[in-house]
Each structure stands twice: as C-alpha cells, then as structure tokens.
Symmetry: C2
C-alpha cells in the first residue's frame, strides 16, 4: 500500500462562456501558457474565420452544408445556433481526455454550456464578463472585424446572456488581463482541491 495521499484521477472539464469582445481567448491563451496540462476542446462552427485565427486551433471552420453533415452523422456532442451561425462540440475528445485524467477547457456559448452541463454534471462553468457594456462595445469596435450592425447584435446578445450567469459556477470580470488570468487559474486550482470531486486517501 502506498504511503502517499492519492488525489482523484479524473480530469476536470472547465466550460467557459463570454460575450464576444470580453477577451476570453486572450485570457485562455495566458492560462494555456502557464498550465501545460490543460487541453482545449476545439469546436466546429460555420462563422467566418477572423484575422489571426487558425483552422483546428481556434475552431474547425465549416460550411453550413458540412456542419449539417456532422449533425446527420452524429459526430457532435451538442450543437446550437448563435447569432446566425452553428457552433458544435465534437463527440469524442472530451470524454476521452477526462477519463485519461486530463483537464479540458471548452469555450462555448450559454445554451451550449447548459447542454454540456447536462452531459457532464461535474463540469465547472465559468462566465467571463466585461467591466461594463460600454467597454464591451468599445472593444468590439476596436477589433474592427465586424460591421456596426453585428456589433449592436453582439452587445444585445451579451445583455441577454446576463440572465444565464446565475447558472454558472464562477464569474470572472476581465478588467485587467493579468488579474483575470490569475482568477481563472485559481478557479482550476481550487476545484481540484474540492471535496465534491472525491477525497484523497491518507494511509
């Protein structure tokens, strides 16, 4: 019998939602740099690729027809429509990683997150918020990748999404990138110490 405390071995699934323009990808990039055992689930989407984005890294970019083929062939864990585009989670990646004791981060919008919670009740739901809606609009405009109309639509969606916040576990306000990154890392670290994920065995 080992003389060491044994941590629980199953991986942690961290589900992250954020209105567009909240800096979610920047935060996750910083977290990724310092937590090498985190694995990112890549979603499929029909939305247009943006400057700096890479196929298979940020998303698997699909046409509407290709996406509907994925649905038809049961290749998605869940999917949803958001701002006129499909977003979906590939079927095999997450359960395989969790079983192997690896932690997985999944970026997903609010309805997708609710679906994932039903499939993985132990997942941790994190919502990233901007310090204010005015600031969110400023950030979206600065990004310059979308039309005025899309920006208005995104801010409206963000306001609607606020009603989902209560079903999340943690809220991180991205006023300062360094602080928000540390917040995110603290959530992962604390969740791994949580008794509800199993108690270690002390001999």
């Amino acid at each position: 019998m080992s003389n060491k405390a044994k941590p629980t071995s199953k991986g942690l699934l961290i589900v992250v939602s954020a209105p567009a323009g909240c800096g979610k990808d920047t935060i996750l990039g910083c977290v990724r740099d310092s937590c090498r055992n985190l694995h990112y689930s890549v979603s499929a989407t029909t939305r247009q690729i943006r400057e700096g984005e890479e196929e298979g890294v940020h998303y698997f970019f699909k046409t509407h027809e290709e996406f509907e083929e994925l649905i038809k062939n049961d290749k998605l864990l869940e999917f949803t429509e958001y701002a006129g585009n499909y977003y979906g989670t590939p079927k095999d990646f997450i359960p395989k990683m969790l079983e192997a004791g690896k932690d997985v981060v999944l970026k997903i919008e609010v309805e997708g997150a609710a679906n994932i919670r039903r499939i993985f009740p132990d997942c941790v739901l994190v919502f990233i918020l901007p310090p204010s809606f005015d600031e969110l609009e400023r950030r979206l405009k600065k990004r310059g990748s979308e039309t005025e109309e899309t920006i208005k639509k995104r801010v409206n969606i963000a306001e609607t999404e606020m009603s989902y916040v209560k079903s999340y576990d943690y809220i991180i306000i991205n006023e300062n990138l360094e602080k928000a990154t540390e917040d995110f890392k603290a959530v992962i670290r604390a969740e791994k110490l949580s008794v509800k994920r199993g108690t270690p065995v002390i001999d």
Copy 2:
C-alpha cells in the same frame, strides 16, 4: 449609475481544521504574509501555551475556571472539548468583520467547524492533511513539545477526524509548504468569484 461591475461586499469566512502537526499555522502564516485583507479570529483555549506562541495572537490562553466563566457569561459563539481541553470562539469578532466586508480565517477542530457551519452556512470549510499518518507522527515528534502519550493520542484523533473530511469543502495536502500555501490562496480567490456568493452587476 456607476459604470463598473460591483463585486459582492460581504466578507468570506474561511474555517480551517487540521490534525495537530499538519503545519496549519505555518501555512496560515504564509497566507497572512501575502493576503493583508485577511483577519484571523483568535480562539480561546485551556490548552498549554507552546514555545513561540503568543497570548492574543495564537490563542487567548485561559484556565479551566476562566473558560467556564466565558461559557457562563455567554461570551462564546461556540465551544467544544478536544484532547482534554476546551476550545471556543469569541462571540463578537466574526459577524462584525464579515458585515464590514472583511475576510476572516478561523482555526477550529472538526466539531467546532460543524458548529460554525450551522451558524454561518456560507462559510468555506478547509481541511489540511498530512501526506501520511507516519509523516504526521514524525512531525509531532520533531516538534518536541508533547509527550509520547499525547502524540499517540493526537495521531489517533487525526485518524478519527478523517471521517469528518467529507463534510468539508476543500482538502489541502501539506506535502510542500509553498504548494499548500498557494492552494489555500487559490481557494480564497476562487470562492470570491463563486456565483453562489452573489453575481456582480454590469451596467
């Protein structure tokens, strides 16, 4: 109307239990050094003062008669007997600090912790464990402040206390002081982001 996200204002009560010899006080000392907004509730006890301990810092040291006077005069939030000594929590400090938005750390044994949870259902319960019971015995012997018999009693109590672990929120294994301190700080940081403590208002 302010344009900033407003965090919730009530303080966090962190209740810490650990078998004697787990390094609880060393960890808390390190946490105190880097979290200046943490306030420590000082318990009253009838146990003997140890080398390096200070009246009013580590405990309020009382005789049995003095302690029973505190009980009689309703000056304690809760009290319990442990390893032949009384331990109790002074009445006013915690609620006053929490209402003022300050975070409070309370060191207390397992039965006391259960009492505190009944009084403050929102408190966070943290259990600190040694990497093994053999290691715990070694640490207690190294401390040199107690007799062989007391050490045996303490190790037995520690084994019994393991059955309480499941009613705690977090377990920190103190195999490495720096890691255990970072764990403790992550728990505090994450709990402050928890949606169950209230959602911020975004304008």
